[in-house]
């Protein structure tokens, strides 16, 4: 990198101009994102007081010790991992399938395409109520349908049952987020050259072979990046989980309840956030090296 001092006067002027333009954004991100991340680590070593005038009490690793010996924490940790696995895998599978379908011309494609975006675009709060309605025990139309098919009991409250709430939430999350995956994959599909397929036709390849040897390799990096993005986002997912069912006890919900309900334990919550962040970083760096080969 060239040093600022060594630049020509014109270049210097240019550099100052560039920095000036970007500085509001950099300052805001610095104060409200980078600093809080560090401050969060700092807080995790304290018993945080919310009474003005009473200083925080340094407790060393006690918050962490408390967490790591708390079975609820480990339980949440496991649920979070399962939730991320199911939703990432599920939404990519559905998104890929739908993108392959929509890549073909058919009458009414425009309408269907617009409709597919609905779950992604509609506010979480609205769609959550809609799902809670259809899944109401006894009266919900989906409950009645599923119980007629013998899949569940009509009296069962799927949404608020702690045993499977995270499965319902996972299903909801797949429904909500597959359009994003679908959009990304579709746009990549449309940029694959038709020549490949024509060449394969001449060689007598069938549909599956074409998919396996042309489409899938072309999609490798898109899917790889999507797994990364959805993995990160779903790991931190709060709204979609909490609003549909508090019983799906993933880590962000555990954190929220520790920090903002009942007797606030901000220090412990900060420790949870730090653990989340570290685990995330480790997973991302492994993934980026092994799968994306950056």
């Amino acid at each position: 990198m060239q040093r600022f001092r060594e630049l020509s006067p014109l270049r210097k002027k240019e550099a100052v101009f560039g920095w000036r333009l970007v500085s509001p954004a950099v300052i805001l991100i610095g104060i409200f994102i980078l600093y809080p991340v560090l401050y969060n680590i700092y807080l995790s070593f304290f018993e945080v007081s919310l009474t003005p005038g009473v200083p925080n009490k340094f407790v060393g690793f006690q918050n962490y010790r408390e967490l790591l010996t708390d079975p609820t924490f480990w339980n949440s940790f496991g649920i979070t991992m399962l939730f991320v696995l199911i939703t990432v895998f599920g939404s990519i599978l559905v998104g890929l399938g739908v993108a392959l379908l929509m890549n073909k011309e058919f009458p009414g494609r425009g309408i269907v395409r617009a409709l597919i975006l609905f779950p992604y675009v509609a506010p979480v709060i609205s769609t959550v109520f809609a799902w809670q309605y259809v899944l109401m025990p006894l009266n919900g139309p989906l409950t009645i349908l599923l119980s007629n098919l013998g899949i569940m009991d009509v009296t069962q409250d799927l949404v608020n049952d702690p045993n499977n709430a995270f499965l319902v939430v996972s299903f909801y999350s797949i429904w909500k987020n597959f359009p994003f995956i679908y959009l990304m994959i579709l746009s990549r599909l449309q940029s694959i050259s038709q020549d490949y397929y024509e060449a394969a036709d001449i060689d007598g390849a069938n549909g599956f072979q074409k998919f396996r040897h042309i489409t899938l390799p072309e999609l490798y990096y898109v899917i790889g990046s999507l797994v990364l993005l959805r993995g990160i986002w779903n790991f931190y997912k709060f709204e979609e989980v909490y609003l549909l069912s508090k019983e799906a006890r993933t880590l962000p919900i555990y954190l929220y309840e520790k920090a903002f309900t009942g007797l606030p334990e901000l220090g412990v919550a900060a420790a949870i956030a730090t653990v989340l962040f570290v685990v995330m970083m480790v997973l991302i760096s492994i993934y980026v090296r092994k799968v994306l080969k950056w």
Binding site: E14, V22, P24, A25, L43, V124, L183, F238, L255
Partner: protein, 324 residues
């Protein structure tokens, strides 16, 4: 040709899967809309088509009609009659209680709608303005440290809202921004700006790079300043991207629940739609028909906005700059 028979099965399967996708996507929406046109007592009638369709849920939410409960009871008059006989201070006291009870039971949908509109709109606008200059800076101007800024903006993806919730809450409490509804809304405004800023910058930056630099150079030679070229050339040429980014940022603010619930829970006057609707859901107003009508009214603005820019949205999202 051997293909003929197989292609019939193929066509059938194709349409079968399309139908499956449509049902999968539309199922909850269909019920949401259907129930919103029913009376509360019919909320769980079987079937999708309401037997006695009504617009009254919408009329009540929009303040065009009083709720049946308000119509039927002349509570007010009866109460005043009872209160006549009480001594002055006691009367005050009881009136206060009733008033606060009322406030808790009412469904001030329009107020929440307005709050959400204000917060999401203003923060999206701010993030857009800061984002335009920031994105221009790192897509067009060269300076030492530019790559660092670009990477830094990307890195923000790794930090989720939950991780920031504790330190930001602590910070804003210390800054005294949680003492009233107004200041809490201001805190939310700042949070929404920073949550949408990285997306705005990334999406806009990608778009700016597609504008040929020669157009700008021509303007510079004609004596335009750099700021002038941004205003007169870059912004008009990027209108589709700018509108898309605005709508995307707007949606993030419109949807946000985590920070809103932390900061404005104590101030009902400052509720945004997600917080308000959720509070109502757990109160005695949890009447399904009305909840569904409120859900529809919450969803319609963003869906309409998105559909109008669908084409650009797809391009913007797939350009790689996304965050929720």
């Amino acid at each position: 040709m051997v293909v003929r028979k197989r292609s019939f099965i193929k066509t059938f399967l194709f349409w079968f899967f399309i139908a499956l996708v449509v049902i999968f996507v539309a199922y909850p929406f269909a019920y949401m809309v259907s129930v919103s046109f029913r009376y509360d007592s019919d909320a769980f009638d079987p079937g999708l088509i309401p037997e006695n369709p009504t617009l009254s849920q919408y009329a009540q939410l929009l303040g065009l009609e009083e709720s049946i409960r308000q119509q039927m009871s002349n509570e007010e008059e009866q109460l005043m009659g009872l209160l006549e006989s009480l001594p002055e201070e006691q009367r005050e006291q009881i009136l206060q209680n009733i008033l606060s009870q009322r406030r808790r039971e009412s469904f001030p949908f329009l107020r929440w709608f307005g709050n959400s509109l204000l917060l999401a709109g203003l923060s999206a606008l701010t993030s857009l303005i800061i984002g335009i200059f920031g994105a221009y800076s790192f897509s067009r101007v060269w300076y030492p440290g530019r790559t660092l800024v670009q990477r830094g903006v990307l890195l923000v993806y790794l930090v989720g809202g939950v991780i920031l919730s504790v330190p930001l809450y602590d910070l804003f409490v210390r800054m005294g921004l949680t003492n009233s509804g107004g200041t809490s809304m201001f805190a939310l405004y700042i949070i929404y700006v920073i949550q949408t800023l990285p997306v705005s910058m990334y999406m806009l930056g990608n778009y700016f790079r597609t504008i040929p630099e020669s157009i700008e150079e021509a303007a510079l030679i004609d004596g335009s300043t750099r700021i002038g070229t941004i205003m007169r050339i870059i912004i008009p040429l990027s209108m589709p991207a700018i509108i898309t980014v605005f709508i995307y940022a707007f949606m993030i603010g419109w949807n946000e629940y985590l920070f809103a619930s932390i900061f404005i829970r104590p101030y009902p006057g400052a509720y945004t739609l997600p917080v308000g609707l959720r509070e109502i859901f757990f109160s005695e107003h949890a009447v399904w028909a009305k909840m569904m009508a409120a859900s529809v009214l919450t969803a319609v603005p963003v869906i309409v906005l998105f559909m109008t820019v669908e084409k650009y949205l797809t391009a913007g999202l797939t350009a790689g700059g996304v965050k929720e």
